[in-house]
Amino acid sequence: MGSLTIDKVKKSFGRVDVLKGIDLAVNDGEFVVFVGPSGCGKSTLLRIIAGLEDSTSGRVLIDGADVTVTPPANRGIAMVFQTYALYPHLTVRSNMSLGLKQIGTPAAEIDRRVTAASTMLSLEPYLERRPAELSGGQRQRVAIGRAVVREPKLFLFDEPLSNLDAALRVNTRLEIAQLHRRLKATMIYVTHDQVEAMTLADKIVVLNAGRIEQVGAPMDLYNKPANEFVAGFIGSPRMNFIDAAKLGEGQAKTIGVRPEHLTVDTGSGAWKGTVVHAEHLGADTNLYVETEKAGLLTVRIFGVYGAEAGSTLYVTPDPQRTYRFDADGKALA
């Protein structure tokens, strides 16, 4: 009851091509995250799915039906905005029920759905309040509630956590994950935060400059990035990229190795270097090591590691977990 197909969708604003031909299939019940740097076209793609923006060419199909020219309200979708976009003059209850009233849903049914949604999102104490009397996290829950009561085929989330502070972000992320499990609805979620993408998604779509770079499960993207961009975008801290020529590697242009796949030793190892900076986070330690052979590397060590700036260390990569990229950035087998 909620599959989505995007067929060769292109979008240009004047002469600028924002989306350069997107093909994508989303299965019923999937949680799909669009992730990419700002300006990559992920929000535009979401707005085209929502019907708030027209595509220049291409088709959007929901449950097999072509909705390319259907107005937003008739597509059977609901959207949660980054800025919540609640109706400021209405109470929480009216915010949630306004759309249902508009299509003439019976009052008893509206009441049932609002009660169910507010219980699910623990909003019962706030039903008679106005948005101005709520905190940011509560407002975002109301916005989610407004989407839930419409019982849509497809949920769209446009960076819903970006306006929340760090602690709330983690909580709300958890709530969205639980919501997906409970409703088993298809959800499409846009974010620029790869942590949100990794934690929520069944399937991640990495976008860059108006193109899909790679589609896959979070661990596929982490373990088998298709190219240098995805390798650098997924994973935190970022993957280290080393000029292959410096290491004497023939075929590849660039060698990639993730910070967590590097080990350090004070006595011996592959690359000798000096610690430039150390970040002690408790659970892990990030070291920035300037090596003679491979340049500046980020090393992530699990747990506490006592190293100070200026000390000399040897860094060794895990040979099983290095990635090689050709001159176009494509991953080599």
Partner: protein, 310 residues
């Protein structure tokens, strides 16, 4: 240690007084002193160029003397009708125009906006005179224009008939000033975030329903401001009537409003000699009427209107 700062005497912040002084001085000179001067003058009378205090006698005369009171109530009712026309015609049209202008599908909206606003910046003398010419039964274009669409039978010398003249002038004033509510509402509509409107689109609230259920409640505070501006403007009005109908506000005082009544009384006109003391009494009444209206608005309506943070 903390006490040291508390004990230190706060320096007198002279700069506040210095920066406020120019505005306060100018405002006092041109507004406050004349206002109190007028209020004071209304309590005096003069005989043989000798001014003496009469208490509320001028007001007793204004309301007690049948001729004075007939003129006053006539002017007050005309003024109220003038205000009603603006509230019922000018402001709804202004809101409607703003709603049309803010529609993203409208082309040339900048042109329309300017065109509709231009009469507001015209001099009332030009407006009054131009409309007098347009509506003139002798050389005006209105009869011919109506003839073109076969409605010449509807033409009457609107400005010359007692029953139509005030309404006609009210509508001319609406034509001139409709740009102001339009601009204020337009600005209020633009300040509604796109995302709220998009959320309404997603909810299926589109078109007229969107205007009534989402936009209108959000621009209510601006409508309140416009209403009070209209009230103050109308009860201070004078210029359009004076330039179109003269100080006698004819025909037969049917377009006489408080402003023209005050002018005739204070400065005199034709055979009537000027009486600054009675004039001041009328001016004081105008001040009280406007003050009461604004207070009612501020204490009953304004406090109930919410301003929304988006």
């Amino acid at each position: 240690m903390a006490g040291e700062f508390a004990q230190q005497k706060k320096p007198i912040r002279w700069h506040i007084a210095v920066f406020l002084a120019p505005a306060v001085l100018v405002y006092t000179a041109v507004m406050i002193i004349p206002l109190f001067g007028t209020l004071q003058l209304s309590l005096f009378n003069a005989e043989n160029q000798q001014r003496f205090f009469v208490g509320l006698d001028n007001f007793r005369k204004l309301f007690g003397d049948p001729r004075w009171s007939a003129s006053f109530w006539n002017a007050l009712w005309n003024n109220t009708w003038f205000f009603i026309i603006h509230m019922l015609v000018q402001n709804p049209i202004g809101i409607g125009l703003a709603a049309l202008l803010s529609s993203p599908k409208l082309r040339f909206s900048a042109f329309y906006r300017t065109a509709i606003f231009i009469p507001t910046i015209l001099s009332f003398v030009i407006v009054g005179f131009a409309w007098k010419l347009i509506l003139s039964p002798l050389w005006g274009v209105a009869p011919n224009l109506l003839d073109l669409v076969g409605l010449k039978s509807l033409f009457t010398p609107w400005l010359g008939k007692e029953e139509y003249a005030l309404t006609t002038l009210g509508l001319i004033s609406v034509w001139q000033f409709v740009g102001i509510p339009m601009m204020l509402i337009y600005a209020a509509l633009l300040s509604i975030p796109d995302e709220v409107i998009e959320a309404a689109e997603m909810d299926g609230i589109t078109g007229m329903a969107q205007f009534w259920k989402i936009k209108l409640p959000l621009i209510l505070p601006s409508i309140g401001i416009i209403s009070i501006l209209t009230f103050v403007g109308n009860f201070n009005a004078f210029d359009l009537i004076y330039s179109a109908q003269g100080a006698l506000a004819g025909p037969n005082y049917s377009t006489d409003i408080l402003g023209t009544f005050l002018y005739r009384t204070f400065f005199g006109f034709q055979l009537q000699t000027g009486d600054p003391y009675m004039g001041s009494a009328i001016a004081s009444m105008m001040f009280l009427i406007i003050l009461t209206g604004v207070c009612i608005y501020l204490f009953t309506i304004q406090t109930r209107l919410r301003r929304y943070q988006f």
